[in-house]
Each structure stands twice: as C-alpha cells, then as structure tokens.
C-alpha cells in the first residue's frame, strides 16, 4: 500500500499510529499482531515532508517499534522488571485515544461557548482616584524631620557636600580655557593642568575638557605608554587671545 503521508497532518507519532489502527479497524491491543507497525515505519520512510524538528518524534517512534519487533524474535532472558515496551506503547495509545476523545468533546463545549456573546466594557467616567493614606501622623512627620536633622552633621563634609562645591568650582568651559592658556607656547602634561591635590571630580572635568578640545581640533594629545603621562600640544599657537 503506497500511501504518501504528510507528517504534519498528524499531531505526533501516537496520532499517526491511531490513524493506521483506525483504518485497519483493529483494536489497539492487536497492534503488534497486525501490519500496523510495518505500515508506520514505511509511512515515516516515505513521508514527503521531512522537517527534522517535526520528524524526530516520528523517527523515535519508528525506532521503538523496531526494538519491539527485534525483541519478539529473541528469546526473553528473564521476566522484565519494568513494563514491556509493548505494554507501555499500548497503554500510551489507549491514553492518547481517550485524550483525543475528550478533546473532541471539549471542542463541542467550545463551539457552544463561542455562541455566548459578551459585551464590550461600557465607557464609564470615573472621578480621580481617591487615595487614603494610612498611619499618617503629625508626630511621625516631626520625628522623621528631627531624625534627619540629627543625621545631618554626620553627613556634612562627606561626599554629598564635597560634590556640590566641586560642581561649582570646575566647569568644562573653564577647564577648556585653562588648558588652552597653559598649553600656549609649549606642550604640557595632563597632571600639570590639574591643581595640586585634585579631586576625582576635577580630574573628570579636566579630562572632559581635554576631549572636547581634541574634538574641536584645538589641541592634540600624545600618550607614550599605557597609563603613561598625557602630553597636550596646542594646535593654535598665536591665535589664542580673544
């Protein structure tokens, strides 16, 4: 029987086996005394669409069927501890057949439910949401503030304070002017542009100023080694005073 099957017309190997069983009009239990397994293997072999992703489950089933077949030719060494692969497959097929049946019944439910129409939500103008805040008290508010005031001296002089002062002292614009001024005449090192004990913030700002000047083509920089000193050369000798 030269049937050409498309694997994609089945939900999987169990589905295909059930199809063959149904066509042969036999009971699931009789699968191994019938031609079904041979038909299955032949069908997979001749299948038109071999999408590996999809076909792997079909091929795996074919391997199982071949295993079962070869076992039947050999004498059984001892009573098996586990379920026979034959029994396992029959049980799987029966379960799957039952599943297909309830799935079909569920489809009827679905069909009926699809005829129960819903309505779209109404447009319902809502007032702004009311927020009820719990556990708010004046004393808690006062306490929170008092705690902050106590905490404040500890923080003074720490990063937050320093940062604020730094922001005002160093701007990219000022640093750019400073670099141009210092580099007039001879090349200067990056370190010499910085103040004596520069903060991290100052270094960052000066470096940004440097990058900006390079972008504008006003200076060029040389660094001979990794992490080595950066030397700044002014490209605009003589045209600086303005």
């Amino acid at each position: 029987m030269a049937h050409i099957f498309r694997l994609s017309q089945f939900e999987g190997p169990l589905d295909m086996l059930l199809f063959l069983i149904g066509k042969a009009k036999i009971d699931i239990k009789d699968i191994f005394v019938s031609e079904i397994t041979d038909q299955y293997i032949a069908a997979v072999r001749e299948a038109e669409d071999i999408d590996m992703e999809e076909a792997s489950a079909f091929i795996q089933m074919a391997a199982t069927l071949l295993l079962i077949k070869s076992r039947s030719l050999l004498p059984k060494p001892e009573p098996p501890q586990e379920e026979d692969p034959e029994q396992l497959l029959i049980r799987q097929l029966e379960e799957y057949a039952a599943l297909k049946k309830v799935a079909k019944e569920m489809q009827q439910f679905e069909k009926i439910a699809a005829k129960m129409y819903e309505k779209l939500p109404e447009e319902f103008p809502l007032p702004p949401p009311t927020l009820e805040l719990e556990g708010l008290s004046l004393s808690a508010l006062a306490e929170a503030f008092a705690n902050l005031l106590v905490r404040l001296p500890e923080d003074e002089g720490e990063e937050t304070m320093v940062h604020r002062i730094m922001r005002e002292e160093h701007t990219v614009r000022d640093c750019m002017a400073n670099i141009l001024k210092l580099s007039r005449g001879s090349r200067v090192s990056f370190n010499s542009v910085l103040s004596k004990s520069p903060t991290r913030h100052e270094v960052v700002v000066v470096f940004l100023a440097l990058l900006e000047l390079i972008r504008l083509g006003k200076i060029s920089c040389v660094q001979e080694d990794t992490y080595g000193e950066i030397y700044i050369r002014n490209n605009q000798k003589g045209r600086l005073k303005h």
Binding site: E11, L18, M116
Partner: protein, 199 residues
C-alpha cells in the same frame, strides 16, 4: 442595602464591566461579606434563568460574567457583528485537555501523553490565559506545574472543572468497528475503541 438591591448593583457592575468580575473583589470593594455577594449572585442568576432572558449570568470558578443566551446567537448575528472567539487548534486542544484532566502537570507529563514536544502549545495557552503556572514540581530540574484558569472555564462555557466530559473508564473489550478516526469520515458514530484510559 437588601439582597434585591445588591443583586441590582451586581448586575450594573457586570453590565458596565463586560468582562468577568471576581466575586471576591466585589465583596472587597463594596465592603460586604463574600457570602452576601454569593447570595445576591445566586438570586440574579435565578432571575435570569426563570425568565428565559436574552442574557445569562455565568460563573467561571471565582468569576462571574453576563453573556447572551446561546440559542439567540443566530439573531444576534443577523443584527450585529459580535466579536467571534477564536477556536483552538487540535494541538492546543489536546494539550489543554491533558492539563485540564491531570492538573497540576509538568511539560513532561503533557509530552508523555501526547508523544510530541509541547513547549509551544503550552506557551501559547499561557499567553491566551487559558492555563497558568501554579508552582514547581519537587523533582529534578524543578519543572513548572501548570493548571487551568477561570478563563479556561469561560472559554468552554462551564463553571467548574467537574463539568468537563467524563472520560470513559470502562474497558472496551470487543474491538469496535469504528475508531476515533472514523468519526472524521463518518459523522454519525463517534464511539471509540480504546480499552482503558487513565484520563
């Protein structure tokens, strides 16, 4: 507020919402006992049933929703273009059936029954809010466990999982003429030949 009034209020809420509404949320937001809400819902449900009205009150698990009576669908369709709910593919339906009957289940459980990979169909059912992850199984790899949602019940028009069709439990000794596949060719008889199932 008496029970008549409360069921009127619930009716108004359901009408405005259109979508399923949780009974617990009604009780919470109206500051009422959930039992009172339950009673009013029952009253409303009975009212709709007694009158063969065009709309019915459906319960899906913990949610309630108004929907039209199914038998009036042809008339509604003559007049309007109601939003048609998409039906599920066979693959999705099979996967959903395994989850529904065996919940909570892992992906592997579903794959064992269906004999094919089910990642895709599980994910698409999760996206459709028909199933949800409800935990992890305490085995190797701690795989996700899936169960059905109230949306699932709504999709199939049932109010609880118990209303799903009973799978045949009895062994079917004699080989039947028809198999499950015949039903596709033969509309009349859908009896099947499986002998015993664990569904």
């Amino acid at each position: 507020m008496n029970i008549e009034e409360l069921s009127g209020i619930i009716e108004a809420i359901l009408f405005v919402s259109g979508d399923p509404v949780s009974i617990g949320e009604i009780a919470l937001n109206l500051e009422l006992a959930e039992l009172d809400v339950q009673h009013a819902v029952e009253q409303l449900q009975n009212k709709y049933e007694e009158q063969l009205s065009g709309v019915r009150l459906h319960r899906f698990g913990k949610h309630i929703q108004l929907k039209t009576r199914e038998s009036y669908a042809p008339y509604v369709e003559k007049m309007l273009q109601p939003i048609q709910r998409q039906s599920l593919s066979n693959a999705a339906l099979e996967t959903l059936a395994v989850v529904a009957y065996r919940q909570p289940v892992t992906r592997l459980d579903v794959e064992m029954v269906r004999g094919v990979k089910c990642d895709y169909s599980l994910q698409s059912l999760v996206n459709k809010n028909l199933i949800e992850v409800c935990g992890r199984k305490d085995t190797l790899g701690r795989p996700f466990l899936y169960r059905t949602t109230d949306e699932f019940l709504s999709h199939f028009g049932i109010s609880s999982i118990d209303e799903l069709p009973e799978p045949d439990e009895k062994a079917n000794e004699e080989p039947k003429e028809e198999s499950c596949y015949d039903s596709e060719f033969d509309e009349i008889n859908t009896t099947e030949n499986e002998t015993e199932h664990e569904l």
